[in-house]
């Protein structure tokens, strides 16, 4: 089937099987910045934004996203450079495989998330095996100027 996606502001027609996830569709179209991890919505590696909300793209069928607005890590640098900069400056990464998902989660974090405790809870859907999270939480704070 053909799915019409709007990814990072550009139209993307993806020819995918009906069972394809948004993750599969994105990676199949060469947008491999979004990583495949657990494929059951636990690890957060594949986090992207759909209509402004963070989702695990492994759990969402590509067909369900037809016509909706998708932002991936490839597009977030242009719209939210301060988030990318914060991860770079705080070194909110080691191996980097979870970083695109972490960047997307932080970019999607709303203003209602204020304290460090709230941030940690909010980010608990994005696993990191390397850093111990301190510099990721630091990046989340720095990205909003706090």
């Amino acid at each position: 089937m053909t799915v019409q996606l709007n990814v990072n502001g550009a139209q993307l027609d993806a020819d995918v099987p009906p069972t394809a996830s948004l993750l599969d569709a994105l990676r199949g179209a060469g947008l491999v910045g979004t990583k495949e991890g657990c494929r059951i919505g636990v690890c957060g590696l594949c986090t992207v934004m759909v209509d402004g909300l963070p989702v695990s793209s492994c759990l969402l069928l590509a067909g369900c996203v037809d016509g909706r607005e998708v932002v991936t890590v490839e597009g977030i640098g242009a719209s939210r450079p301060e988030v990318v900069d914060a991860f770079v400056d705080c070194e909110g990464m080691q191996c980097g495989i979870c970083t695109p998902g972490q960047v997307m989660a932080v970019a999607a974090m709303g203003p209602e998330i204020e304290s460090e405790e709230e941030m940690r809870r909010y980010l608990s859907g994005n696993l990191c095996r390397c850093t111990g999270y301190a510099t990721i939480v630091e990046a989340a704070k720095v990205s909003r100027g706090s």
């Binding site: 491999v32 990318v84 909110g92």
Partner: protein, 705 residues
């Protein structure tokens, strides 16, 4: 000095590529003309493979072949012991073992074909408990384990022995403990775990004319994998090339070559490029898990709390194959080194690894040490309680002083255990416990040798404009090692730190390198960096300069890590919350403070996962927690306040004067938490992970007794 004050860091060279999704990993390589391999795995721990029916699978559009062990021939893989067939033939020995492979034009096609392969299994009784595996009448996982290439066991050994490591003298310990004033005799158990890297294993193999093969994938030891794959395939080493690739986490799990060998064998068979990308659940159930253990400890001291003897007798579940274990003993060196930091006149360690019908076990961050240190450092607290002196004081009285000899007779010019422990204990407690919960404090220590440099090679290419490229033979597993190399190289050349770029090159582009492991990269490569700078300065500076270094002898340094855990325990439910974890690290020169800090932080969190959460739940030959929902890694929310105290002024190894850090802070954590729980509620948990349930039952037992 806090970790943050130690220096100012340059942005790591791969940071922006990683934060913008531009970094390319193994699964991101282009796919033109690649066949996708999907493995059909055994659903049972032990069975005769009666028949494999693949007509339905092969009939599907896009399916090129279904390959079995019969097609590939007898390809036996292993890092030391070649005891693992790349695909099982007559017999399968663990749940998750590869039996057949569907090759298709897309991963989805190959996956659906794999589901259609019908295998008839005649189930056989499985050996799943290490305790019974060594009994003379036990069924055998391998009919003739001693006959495998590289086997370290003999016919006269008990059935199912995979390897045995023995050191010290049991007799001397028996004599010493017979006259000891106090002796602790206790059994400690740890669970099977997984490295939990988030990037699943992924390999691409591309056949070349003349029988050669190019491999690219999740590999931390390219040169060793090259040799091992060539040996398994029966081809000359120089026909196999391993390409450069950054890793999405390692922690000991990306040194294996089993999936690489399978992928290479498939590509040679098909005469086409093949990609073998594991799904996350396949990875958790089939690769290199951490050994679960049962450890009998006897630890004794005199009336003044001076240790007189230690015996550690460990039985480890090695799983169905020894193939994943890389060191000559085919055992876990952490078992032997677990009490290195103490003065012990009588010492005995035995570590027996046994074959069972479970997933083959491999190396994970300080292999053997997290298990053994949990046992010994828990016993240390139990002993302190018997002697009635504080746990810290018992340790201080027995930690090596500089110039003293360890249990093996090795003399350490510097031993800074006591000041490292005190640095952790001196940190004030800042957290508050929930109402009605009881609080406790526990400590544990680990001492690890930093090894002298191993063989490596580097090439320096001048850009002519004051910029440089360093070509090196090992990947950055995530630690920031490439940034360390770049910054050190710039320092030695006397140029600005951002003028040096570091690039990994394929195995045919530089001489042998040991690969990443054993926390030796920084110490090892810093010697090569200096030699390279000297060679460059002595050269005409108009062409690249290369150095290859030989392994060095020379005094290793001992690095201590002490942790203090502050916990709160709900006495009603047994729930444990770690409020704070203080890690003190004995350091010499810290080359890149931020990378150093992240190694310490990340290790501590991994230690907490081992202590409290992570369990593959192996039972009856099945991994029940084969996904990240059930095999729970710590999340940002699970992590307590972490504080790191660096204890500066140590003397390290090599010209850069460094002590290793990658495999320190994940080791003592479990014992520190267990000791803190005992301090809080008097319940001694001798089995990991420490769950609310386990603490609850310990409390119940205490009520009864």
């Amino acid at each position: 000095m806090s970790a943050d004050e130690a220096g100012v860091d340059l942005v790591r060279q791969d940071a922006r590529a990683k934060a913008t999704g531009k970094m390319r990993y193994s699964a991101d390589l282009p796919l033109e003309g690649v066949l996708h391999a999907v493995v059909v795995r055994s659903p049972v721990p032990h069975a005769q493979i009666v028949s494999i029916e693949s007509d339905a699978a092969r009939a599907r559009d896009g399916v090129v072949a279904v390959v079995t062990g019969a097609e590939l021939g007898q390809v036996m893989a292993g890092r030391r012991v070649r005891d693992m067939p790349v695909l099982a033939r007559e017999e399968t020995r663990f749940t998750g073992e590869g039996i057949a492979v569907a090759l298709g034009t897309s991963r989805e096609v190959a996956e659906s074909a794999a589901r259609l392969v019908a295998i008839d299994y005649q189930e056989l009784p499985a050996v799943t408990e290490p305790a019974t595996a060594l009994a003379p009448d036990s069924a055998r996982v391998h009919a003739a384990a001693s006959e495998y290439d590289g086997a370290v066991v003999s016919l006269s050994d008990p059935p199912n022995l995979q390897s045995e490591l023995v050191d010290g003298s049991q007799e001397e310990v028996d004599v010493a403990l017979a006259s000891a004033a106090h002796v602790v005799t206790a059994t400690y158990r740890t669970q099977a775990g997984h490295q939990g890297y988030l990037e699943p294993i992924c390999w691409t193999a591309i056949p070349r004319q003349g029988g050669g093969i190019l491999l690219q994938g999740t590999c931390k030891q390219p040169y060793q994998v090259r040799t091992q794959v060539a040996k398994a395939l029966g081809v000359p080493t120089d026909l196999v090339e391993v390409g450069p690739m950054p890793l999405g986490g390692d922690f000991g799990g990306k040194g294996g070559m089993l999936d690489a060998t399978l992928c290479a064998a498939l590509a040679r068979w098909a005469g086409q490029p093949v990609r073998l990308a594991l799904r996350s659940d396949e990875d958790l159930m089939s690769t290199d898990a951490r050994h679960g253990s049962t450890m009998d400890v006897r630890l004794g001291c005199d009336r003044d709390g001076r240790l007189v003897g230690l015996s550690l007798d460990a039985l480890l579940d090695g799983g169905a194959y020894a193939a994943s274990k890389p060191i000559p003993s085919v055992n876990l060196h952490g078992m032997a080194e677990a009490a290195l930091g103490y003065r012990l006149s009588a010492f005995y360690v035995r570590s027996r690894i046994v074959y069972t019908h479970t997933v083959p076990k491999g190396h994970m961050r300080a292999p053997g040490a997290p298990q053994a240190v949990f046992a010994i450092e828990s016993a240390m607290d139990e002993l302190a309680q018997k002697v009635r002196i504080p746990a810290a004081e018992l340790r201080r009285r027995n930690l090596l002083h500089s110039g003293e000899r360890d249990a093996y007779g090795h003399q350490w010019p510097e031993a800074r255990g006591a000041i490292t422990l005190d640095a952790a204990l001196d940190e004030p407690v800042r957290s508050k416990a929930p109402n009605k919960w009881r609080t406790g404090t526990g400590m544990a220590l680990y001492a690890r040798p930093t090894l002298p440099p191993g063989p490596t090679s580097l090439r320096l290419v001048g850009g002519g404009d004051g910029s440089f490229v360093v070509e090196l033979p090992f990947p950055d597993t995530g630690t920031g090692s490439h940034s360390v190399v770049g910054e050190e190289m710039a320092h030695c050349l006397g140029v600005a730190r951002d003028r040096v770029i570091v690039r990994q090159v394929p195995t045919n582009a530089l001489p042998y390198d040991l690969g990443v492991g054993g926390s030796w990269v920084t110490a090892g490569v810093s010697a090569a960096i200096r030699r390279l700078a000297d060679a460059w300065n002595a050269s005409s500076k108009d062409r690249p300069v290369m150095v290859a270094t030989e392994p060095e002898d020379g005094p290793a340094a001992l690095a201590y890590c002490a942790q203090v855990a502050h916990v709160a325990v709900d006495p009603e439910t047994g729930q444990v919350r770690v409020l704070e974890l203080v890690t003190a690290v004995d350091v010499a020169q810290v080359l890149r403070p931020r990378s150093h800090r992240l190694q310490v932080d990340g290790g501590a969190v991994m230690g907490l996962g081992f202590a409290l959460l992570e369990d593959l739940l192996e039972e009856g030959g099945q991994v029940w927690a084969s996904n990240f929902a059930e095999f729970r890694l710590p999340t940002a929310e699970d992590v307590p306040l972490l504080r790191t105290v660096l204890v500066p002024g140590g003397t390290g190894v090599g010209p850069a004067n460094v002590k290793s850090v990658g495999e320190l802070s994940n080791v003592p954590t479990a014992a520190a938490v267990a000791n803190a729980v005992a301090d809080a509620v008097g319940a001694r948990v001798r089995q990991l992970p420490i769950t609310a349930e386990s603490v609850y039952w310990c409390l119940e037992e205490k009520e009864v007794s």
